[in-house]
Symmetry: C2
Subunit: 216 residues, 2 copies
């Protein structure tokens, strides 16, 4: 297919497609003349993936490049693919200043909960360990909801039950590009699904608790 | 306290504090001379709240203004406060073009799951209903993980169990500003805690499933 068909199929504007081609997020088409290239289903698929990760996950071009390189490195095992994409997805939480006084406590809490809940296979260098420290540090500094070990552990248990089932459902009998797509869309978009549904559920249960006179 | 002490206490730079004062996110201090104002604990607290919501939640100034106005409107009930802040927090997911062909299906799935799981108290106009449609539409369009009713329902059940317990733990015996702080920090920062922990748990369970030869 030509560029305009690729635009129609993927829903990504031509200028953006050209930008992704220049940035190497999309492999070049097959040149059929000096000015015309042919694209195929792999381009449509890649564009759809990039689009959902940008629109729902707000991923940066740098993060997308890491994911694309992971897709194209055929030497990686499934777990290595998982780890590389996890580190790309880990949010770039703004580093909190060291003089806030909560950094050391947040680090201790993070290490403790990962150990207590039994996540022994998380790499020491996993980017999300730092994300966890940052979130705990923010909670410790913010005031209204000071985290304590049993509360942090409760969230870890909820997260563990969800992730255990999700990973058991991953279809391992598919080509590596499909497996990678399933991993990143699962991590980013299903994570957002969970967060949005949690807020809807909070509204419902908050009404049940605080607004008992309201309409049932 | 004077401005420089407010900066020290809150960890927010002076230029940012002045910007928040101009934008009305922070109430003015008490003027003690033509050039000097006095600030107090309420300013420190407000700044800490704004800071965590910006750093962890990535909330816009417009969203923060909605939250601040909610805090200052003493006529609102607890549930009205909850709903106004929920709508401020609801992520501004990029609207997907109507010609993608999945909008109607996503709307049907969203309505179905909210009804099936029994979230009868969610307002028809809640901003997160639209967030849910957007996430489902993104999943339907992305390809690798097509949502089906039982899967969507499973996420709703997980979210429901989490939110039910969280709302039951809210401390209702506190002043309204504290209650609001607990609501928004709970929604934004504990949501992020859950998402980060889910990714850590996925790495662990993925290693257990796909990398059985690796270090235990």
């Amino acid at each position: 297919m030509q560029l305009f068909e690729l635009v129609q199929e993927s829903g990504v504007p031509a200028a953006t497609v050209k930008y992704y081609l220049r940035e190497g997020l999309l492999p070049p088409g097959r040149k059929v003349s000096a000015r015309v290239s042919e694209y195929d289903e792999t381009h449509v698929r890649r564009l759809r993936l990039i689009r959902v990760l940008r629109e729902v996950g707000g991923l940066s071009v740098a993060a997308l490049r890491d994911i694309v390189e992971t897709a194209e490195d055929e030497a990686l095992t499934a777990q290595a693919m998982f780890c590389r994409t996890a580190d790309a997805i880990a949010p770039a939480l703004v580093a909190r200043p060291a003089d806030d006084g909560h950094r050391a406590e947040a680090e201790r809490m993070a290490e403790q909960v990962v150990s207590d809940v039994g996540w022994t296979r998380v790499r020491p260098e996993a980017a999300d360990r730092e994300s966890l420290v940052s979130v705990l540090e923010a909670l410790l500094g913010a005031g209204p909801l000071t985290p304590y070990p049993a509360m942090v552990r409760w969230y870890a248990d909820q997260a563990d039950a969800i992730a255990r089932f999700e990973i058991s459902m991953v279809n391992a009998d598919q080509d590596r590009e499909s497996l990678l797509e399933e991993m990143v869309v699962g991590s980013v978009v299903l994570g957002e699904l969970l967060v949005v549904m949690r807020r809807l559920a909070q509204e419902h249960h908050s009404a049940e608790r605080f607004d008992e006179g309201g309409p049932a």
